[in-house]
Amino acid sequence: MSSQQTPQEIGQLSFGLMDPEEYREMSATKVITADTYDDDGFPIDMGLMDPRLGVIDPGLECKTCGKHSGSCNGHFGHIELAAPVIHVGFAKLIRRLLRGTCRECSRLCLDEGEREEFSDQLQRSRDLGRDLNDVTKAAIRQARKKDRCPFCGEKQYDIKHEKPTTYYEVQQVLAADYPDRIAEAMEESDERIAPTDLAEETGIDSGRVQEILSGEFRPRQDDRRALEKALSVDLTEEDMNKLMPSDIRDWFEDIPDEDIEVLGMNPERSRPEWMILTVLPVPPVTARPSITLDNGQRSEDDLTHKLVDIIRINQRFMENREAGAPQLIIEDLWELLQYHVTTFMDNEISGTPPARHRSGRPLKTLSQRLKGKEGRFRGSLSGKRVNFSARTVISPDPTLSLNEVGVPERVAREMTQTMNVNERNLDNARRYVANGPEGHPGANYVRRPDGRRLKVTEKNCEELAEKVEPGWEVSRHLVDGDIIIFNRQPSLHRMSIMAHEVVVMPYKTFRLNTVVCPPYNADFDGDEMNMHALQNEEARAEARVLMRVQEQMLSPRFGENIIGAIQDHISGTYLLTHTNPQFNETQALDLLRATRIDELPEADGVDDTGEAYWTGRTLFSELLPDDLNLEFTSSAGDTVTIEDGEMTSGTIDEDAVGAFGGEVVDTIAKDYSKTRARILVNEVSALAMRSIMHFGFSIGIDDESIPRPAEEQINDAIDNAYDRVEELIETYERGDLESLPGRTVDETLEMKIMQTLGKARDSAGDIAEDHFDDDNPAVVMAESGARGSMLNLTQMAGCVGQQAVRGERINRGYENRTLSHFEEGDLSADAHGFVEASYRSGLSPKEFFFHAMGGREGLVDTAVRTSKSGYLQRRLINALSELETQYDGTVRDTSDTIVQFEFGEDGTSPVDVSSSQDEAAVDVEQIADSVLNEEFESEKQKESFLGQRTERTNLSEHADDWWMAEGDD
């Protein structure tokens, strides 16, 4: 088997055209018959499926290399074309060469000076990595200006190119029926001109005129002009002399090598005559496999179909030519051959009908295979399908750590990890093998030291397990603690692909801790995710150290944590700390039961009944490191103070522990360690879940209802706004409305109405807000930042407000009105999409319709946006992907071009530094204070403050106990 060969590394790739001789040499066989298989189903010799071109059917042997299907890569064959044809891809270049070189001596029509100039330009372009074609085009333009060849003096003619592959040489010559047409023109003149008059007018001898008219004499150029001017007709005709591919080939063959170099071509690799094909390479069978349908019929690949066409025409061409067919027929066949070869290369040439399959579907030929998203380059080379991957629906599991992922047992049984058996893991290895492929921590394959791979089956597993010895390899199932890579598309940033530790679980979904939803942008409404099992130690080590969820906690986009409490976690901590409620011992222990805290701190006090109590803030403080000092403003608006790991005031909400920059999480991740931050987030979410369960939290329709008087107040406010809008309209109609600078009166009116109605919505919201209690769940969620906003609440309880399409009031629909329910030209609020009702009270039909219009715009917007921003991202990534910081701090691309001398001008990492302006990356003031006040408890701490910090490694969830014990916390 070829896999025993050492894999070779590709050092470089050179591109060039291929010499037809080379084709013939490397060809395994000449292909002459258009048929593929004979009646018995065997490939025909020298046909398109010739066994020398490689094998696809299992069991057959390749006649060239002797290998079987699967290991034989296939071999090229060739077709001898009856006549040369043009390669479509080079049609433009061929045109350029024809125009720039002499028709006689084939030399480039540029004198020495010009040649040198263009050679220099070319070299400069090459050095700077610019497009060579710009120089080439300029050179050709220069050459084309020449009337005569500077070398042989031959007159040059213009070349006309008829797309895709026909070329004409245009010569100005007389039409064949020139005399007749002159005569005709003389007849048609206003008064018939006699030949003598003509002679007089043009000053040509009248005898000569007679001769011209009889066709005995062909007029010279100036005579002709005079004649035509006198008759005011234009009888010059362009004579289009078609250049056959064979002519072009002969022409190109004579172009000397040094001339080609001036045009940026490499004469050693690509001679111009090779752009005209005389031999067509036939791709190996393996590149165009045929498939056998259920009914036993063979279905051939598109390329094969195309090749069949080419061979058929080629045969017919040869037969006809040998039989001495008329030139016309030969030319037709030549064109047909050209068409087939053209479409074999590219079937999407404009102006040529695409070759079609019998069913009418256009064939997918060579170009189409390479192009586009699903093409060879983007579809099969840059992105490949892989083994050891799994995909299924995700669902939440708050009991997992954020580093973990629940993997269904069925997946764990398919994804394997290779164990190198040695004395130490021998027992384990044998146990895995003994469990077989069906039992859970089992094995699927073993590999003996001699390289033989054996499948572990239910039948042989026991027997095989005993044979396993050190030196064997066992492909064992995934088990708890293995590291895998987890991904959710679209992978917009690096946190979309993170490494997790496996926890094998029953059922069929991947289980995630809810706090990793923000980085993946996942929810559980049916989202699916992909998992990849890593296959070598290097990959596993990198994944553990660099890619594990906790290592990705800080987003490089804004330099703060992207993992943190979300939704109910935030409601939970809010309830726990906002009013700082008291809990008795049982309650307190219950709240902390899912954390590593197993002992309560000193009680905060004793309540009226004499029972000890603990406050919410105290309980929360238990999760914090003992030496944490922090002060910030929460989203609820109060100041949170944490002194020596004790939270003394404030509310823990989104700004404290939330994803996207929760202050506490962010500080701990940066000042302590990622491991500590991970433990904190896990415990905060656990505590929060317990807390929200303790208090109970639900929202219903009643939570959005407001008392009658408030409703009336809102109605008044809206009526008020309506009156003001009416007033505005009246002023407008009177023509008294003063326009804002730079706006028309109409625009001003629209803006003012929008403003008025916006205010009305806001005041309705304010009124509604006043009537909600602080413990209203919707208010709690909005205030804590858990979910929703006050605006959402306003719309539910107060008034939905103005609906907008393209940033304006709704103005579309019928002529001068939005709906037939309104009068034409009605400018009032309700005629243009102001929704007075609240979601709770329900929308009127008209309001509902306007609301749907606004909603539809949003949907369209999202659809357009995703494709646009996706393309933007692709371009950005492509342009920047090669940039990397170097050891000297510079940012360079892979060809060592310096792009920045220091990343971001100061070399600071975007991960470690928050991008918000008011937060300095390095707080000199604070550092100075610490140094001067000697705020250190020990020499060791002082040293660590002055010197560089190193984070203690933590490679696994399972190493936490050890990690915590080592620390001071």
Binding site: E9, I10, S14, F15, G16, L17, G89, F90, G129, E268, R269, S270, L370, G372, G375, F377, S382, L492, H493, P556, R557, G559, L740, G742, D861, S869, L872, Q873, R875, L876, I877, N878, A879, L880, S881, E882, L883, E884, T885, G889, V891, S895, Q900, F903, G904, E905, D906, G907, T908, S909, P910, S915, V922, V924, I927, A928, S930, V931, L932, L946
Partner: protein
């Protein structure tokens, strides 16, 4: 100032300029000795070294992601203000795409014109500058009527407007004369002027020519810069009091800089190419960063780190000219054939490579993914391996 000894210890650190200055000011404010200063500097340095980017960090990809990812959260069609409600400016994703594409002209060109001191405080004087910038066309100056019977175009100029727009001239007739001259030189007709009324007609009586003249008349710019259709004047708060700032619809940066009263050091434009032509690449890079940042800020995505935008701006201006991101710019000028083929217009790149006999050295990322070698970024760029022998 701080003593030389302190300066010596601070300068000895590897801190960037900004932090050194921070250290100096802190030391000065606290008035500490050399020993403490040294410790402070050391501590600051170690904190700074902690926050430095790691060598071999693929910062390019990270920056690209950090700009691309918020793109999904931006809105498509938001126009409206750039601080000024009166001027519509393309915003959101379309603007971001426009910047990255390095379009020759933005969808909505605009300028922010700051004024020299003597003009900035006085509304009257600020208006003087406005009239020098804003293109004044005939419709703004008076009424046009066509007299078909006599084949004449009549312009009745509005005296107030004339005096307003030519604040330096006090004579309406003189202004009218100037206008008439402009018309003559632009349209090639003879004009007759009586007071503030100007009359002219086609050489030969022709209805079509007459209408043609009126059309052409509308396009003549009598004063100001052709490209700038509107100028809005606004009072703005600054550190030292208030000043008038002009916002223009349409832009011609080079022209505006030459106008008297314009403070060229603070005036900006949202067309990167105009900045590039007038002030050079470095200014273009700066504008690119500012414009991208503003676009993101307007969408509430102000948390994106500027360093990412800097990198994008730096790669776009690395050649010394402005290159776009995409097929016609950076991605199209890559050295590797495979990388270009894998991005866009696959077949053409391959054919061209064959003609030019190109060689792909396989240095970049895409190429190595294609041929199945480890890429030379991040951990792939390290050749260090753990040894097997134990000494």
């Amino acid at each position: 100032m701080v003593s030389e000894d302190i300066e010596a210890v601070v300068e000895d650190t590897e801190l960037p300029r900004r932090l050194k200055d921070d250290v100096y000011s802190t030391i000065e404010a606290k008035g500490v000795g050399v020993e403490d200063a040294d410790r402070i500097a050391k501590a600051v340095e170690s904190r700074y070294m902690d926050t430095r980017v790691d060598p071999l960090d693929p910062v390019g990809t990270v920056s690209a992601q950090s700009i691309g990812e918020p793109g999904t959260q931006m809105t498509m069609n938001t126009f409206h203000y750039a601080g000024v409600a009166e001027i519509d400016v393309t915003q959101g994703l379309p603007r971001l795409i426009e910047l990255v594409d390095a379009r020759k002209t933005p969808d909505t060109p605009m300028m922010t014109v700051h004024l020299d001191e003597e003009y900035a405080d006085d509304r009257e004087r600020a208006h003087e500058v406005v009239w020098k910038i804003e293109a004044t066309r005939i419709l703004a100056l008076g009424d046009i009527s066509t007299n078909v019977a006599d084949m004449l175009v009549q312009i009745d100029l509005n005296e107030d407007t004339l005096l307003e727009r030519w604040p330096t001239v006090n004579d309406t007739e003189a202004i009218a004369e100037e206008i008439a001259e402009t018309i003559e030189s632009n349209l090639g007709v003879q004009t007759r002027q009586a007071g503030t009324v100007i009359e002219f007609g086609p050489e030969e009586p022709s209805y079509r020519d007459l209408l043609q003249l009126v059309e052409e008349l509308r396009d003549i710019v009598f004063k100001g810069i052709e490209e700038i259709s509107r100028v809005v004047i606004r009072k703005e708060e600054t550190d030292n009091g208030e000043e008038f700032v002009l916002y223009t619809e349409g832009s011609d940066f080079g022209e505006v800089l030459g106008i008297e009263g314009v403070d060229a050091s603070r005036t900006t434009c949202n067309n990167i190419h105009e900045i590039y032509r007038s002030l050079g690449v470095e200014a273009a890079r700066e504008t690119l960063i500012n414009e991208t940042m503003n676009t993101l800020e307007e969408q509430g995505l102000d948390d994106v780190n500027v360093r990412h935008l800097m990198l994008v701006a730096d790669i776009m201006t690395n050649e010394g000219t402005i290159e776009s991101i995409g097929r016609h710019g950076i991605s199209g000028s890559k050295d590797s054939v495979l990388a270009r083929a894998a991005f866009e217009v696959t077949v053409n790149h391959l054919l061209d490579a064959a003609i030019h006999g190109e060689v792909d050295e396989l240095d970049g990322v895409t190429e190595n993914v294609i041929v199945g070698k480890p890429i030379k970024l991040g951990t792939g760029d390290v050749d260090l391996r753990m040894g097997t022998s134990q000494d």
